[in-house]
Each structure stands twice: as structure tokens, then as C-alpha cells.
């Protein structure tokens, strides 16, 4: 068997990184191959040297410098998560309120004074055709402003004058 095929497995076996069944195979091969034993030894040696070379080259000043730089960048006081959630909820509520359509109160409609209506009505001999009194049109949908609390002034009485063919007969109809 070509020993190059064993290199990666032996490199793992040098630090006990092989699963048990593969480790057993590697052990059997090492027992009969001096070249691979030398390879395993040099792997272990280079790793040991690597570890030694990387031992504590950092000083307390390095740690202190990092700490100081981090603390200098932190805000004065950290807001806990539940406080941030509250602030977020209030902001959302305000935004929703602002987005709602606002109902504007309509301006109060002015009511025109009651008009006087004149109507010409033919007189008897056909007395059955009695005309109905004409009522002035009331403005529709009059919305009274809610803010006005003053008592409304008394409305003028509606007066209807009915003129017949007979100049001596005039009918007045007054409605409250």
C-alpha cells in the first residue's frame, strides 16, 4: 500500500482525532511501517512547536486597551429589551393615531328667515277646491353646531295670504 494514502489519517491519529475503528487500522499500519512512524512523529513535533510558539504573546496592556476602547464606545446606559419594546409600542401607537382620518365638524348652515308666500286661489262657486297652504321649503340636512349652547331665537310665524277672485275676500293663514 502506498504510504501517501495514510498521511491524512496519520495526521489525524497523531492527535487522537480518528474514530476508533480507523484509529485501530492506523495503529496496525504504524506498527509495520517505520516511514509512517517517522511521519507521525514529525507531525506531533511540529504541532508541539506551533503551540509553544503561540504561547502567551499578549500582555495585560493588550487586554486593557481592548477593554478601554470597547467601554468608550458603549452608550452611557444600556436600555433593557423590555424598555425598548415599550418605546416601540408607543411609537407605533402614535403613528397609527396620526394616520386615522379625522372627522371635521361641518360649519353651521344658516337658516333663511321664513318667507311670506302669496297665493292666488280661485273662489267658489267651486268651494271644494280648497288649496292647501303653501309651506316654505325647509332646508334639508340642517346640522346644528354642537358647540352652540345659546337658546335659538323664536322663529317668526309663517303667514300665508290667500287671495280669491273676490277682492273682498282675503284669507290669512298664520302657522307657528
Amino acid at each position: 500500500m502506498n504510504c501517501r494514502d495514510w498521511e491524512e489519517r496519520i495526521a489525524l491519529h497523531a492527535e487522537r482525532d480518528l474514530p476508533p475503528h480507523e484509529a485501530a487500522e492506523a495503529e496496525r499500519h504504524l506498527a509495520e511501517c517505520a516511514e509512517c512512524r517517522g511521519f507521525a512523529e514529525s507531525i506531533s513535533q511540529s504541532l508541539a512547536e506551533l503551540r509553544g510558539a503561540h504561547l502567551e504573546s499578549l500582555t495585560p496592556a493588550d487586554f486593557a486597551a481592548v477593554r478601554a476602547r470597547v467601554l468608550a464606545e458603549l452608550p452611557e446606559r444600556r436600555r433593557p429589551a423590555w424598555r425598548l419594546a415599550w418605546i416601540g409600542a408607543v411609537v407605533v401607537a402614535l403613528v397609527l393615531l396620526a394616520a386615522l382620518p379625522v372627522k371635521r365638524q361641518p360649519e353651521p348652515t344658516r337658516v333663511a328667515p321664513a318667507p311670506t308666500v302669496e297665493a292666488a286661489i280661485p273662489l267658489p262657486p267651486a268651494p271644494e277646491a280648497r288649496p292647501e297652504p303653501v309651506r316654505p321649503r325647509r332646508p334639508k340636512h340642517v346640522v346644528r353646531p354642537r358647540t352652540v349652547h345659546k337658546p335659538a331665537p323664536p322663529a317668526e310665524p309663517l303667514m300665508v295670504r290667500l287671495i280669491s277672485n273676490d277682492p273682498d275676500v282675503v284669507i290669512y293663514w298664520i302657522a307657528n
Binding site: D17, I43, L47, E49, S57, F63, V66, R77, P80
Partner: protein
């Protein structure tokens, strides 16, 4: 106890406070508790960053970014137990981002700890060897280097490395074995050329 939890305990030895309580206090906005969290984990973060980046100043920048991310994401840390894993993962990501943004710097910083009683000639050889080892890490690909640093220098298990990197254990094992062989070959070739 799992290795990550052991590591956390070992790093938190200087403070008798329960790490879970420290996390909870930091989450509640306690700035002093956050500083304690940093002290408990700064060795993990800064050492890993230095091993991945090979440069002290870059490692400091990376560690700063990691702790700022921790501060911003404290609410997502479920417990002190998985904090170490979270920090490893973020440190790896931050270092990868940094390496993509910045060109590799030429200098590599490693410990200079001469052996007691070593001759100047011996010290020079040791320093050269350390330099070669540092270079060997830098010639590895990003994934191989990360797997090797986490497994062989940080001492995590293959399963933990796989979890941190979001890979399968089989993939991580393959990366580690290739990285080990490359490091060994590089160091051997380096010294063969020098002699």
C-alpha cells in the same frame, strides 16, 4: 462538563461571580457586569484573533469589534454556557471580514520566550523556528487555518470546531489533517532551505 464550559470556568476564575448571573446582569443593562463579561472572555477572543490574524494591532481591532457585537446582541445570548461558542464564532467571522478588507501585513508577532540559559546562537535558531511556524499558518487557506487554530491551538474538540464553523465533523477533520501535513512540510522545507 463539556470542554467549552470548562474553558469558560477556567477563564472566569478571577471572579467568583456566577457567569450566568453576570450575563443576566449585563442583559439588564448593568455596564459593570458587561465589563466583567469582557474580562472573563478577553483571553479567548484576543488570543484567537491573534492566532488567526498574526498581528497584534489587527487582533485588538477584531477583539474590539467582537465585544461591541456582544453588547449589541446580549439579548440573544441564551446562557453563559453557550457564550464561549458564540464568541468563537463571532471572532472567526470578524477575523475573516478583517482579512478580506485589509491586505496581509508582513509582520507576524509571536511570543519571544528564550529558553533559560540558551546561548545567543540557540536563541536565534528558536526565533527563526517560531517565525517559520508563524509563516506556516499564514500560508494555509482560511478554512484550514481556522480549523487548525481552533482544534490544535485553542484545544477544542472536532465536534466543537464543526459546530462553530457550521460544518460537518468530517469536513473539519479533513481540513485539520491537510493543515497539519502542510505545516509539517512547510517547516521542514523552510529549515532545509536555510541550512
Amino acid at each position: 462538563m463539556e470542554p467549552l464550559a470548562l474553558l469558560l470556568t477556567a477563564n472566569g476564575m478571577e471572579s467568583p461571580e456566577d457567569p450566568a448571573r453576570t450575563v443576566a446582569a449585563a442583559q439588564a443593562g448593568d455596564r459593570a457586569a458587561f465589563e466583567r463579561l469582557m474580562r472573563q472572555h478577553e483571553r479567548l477572543v484576543l488570543t484567537t484573533a491573534l492566532r488567526l490574524l498574526g498581528n497584534r494591532e489587527d487582533a485588538r481591532d477584531a477583539a474590539q469589534e467582537v465585544f461591541l457585537r456582544l453588547y449589541r446582541n446580549l439579548a440573544k445570548v441564551e446562557s453563559a454556557r453557550n457564550l464561549a461558542g458564540w464568541l468563537y464564532r463571532v471572532t472567526v467571522n470578524v477575523c475573516h471580514d478583517q482579512r478580506r478588507k485589509r491586505p496581509e501585513t508582513a509582520s507576524v508577532e509571536l511570543a519571544v520566550l528564550p529558553a533559560a540559559g540558551a546561548s545567543p546562537q540557540q536563541e536565534l535558531t528558536d526565533a527563526e523556528r517560531r517565525h517559520a511556524l508563524a509563516l506556516s499558518l499564514r500560508m494555509l487557506g482560511e478554512k484550514e487555518r481556522t480549523a487548525l487554530v481552533l482544534r490544535d491551538l485553542e484545544g477544542l474538540s472536532t465536534a466543537e470546531v464543526a459546530q462553530i464553523l457550521g460544518s460537518s465533523e468530517m469536513t473539519v477533520r479533513s481540513q485539520i489533517s491537510k493543515a497539519r501535513v502542510k505545516v509539517k512540510n512547510f517547516v521542514e522545507q523552510y529549515f532545509r532551505r536555510r541550512t
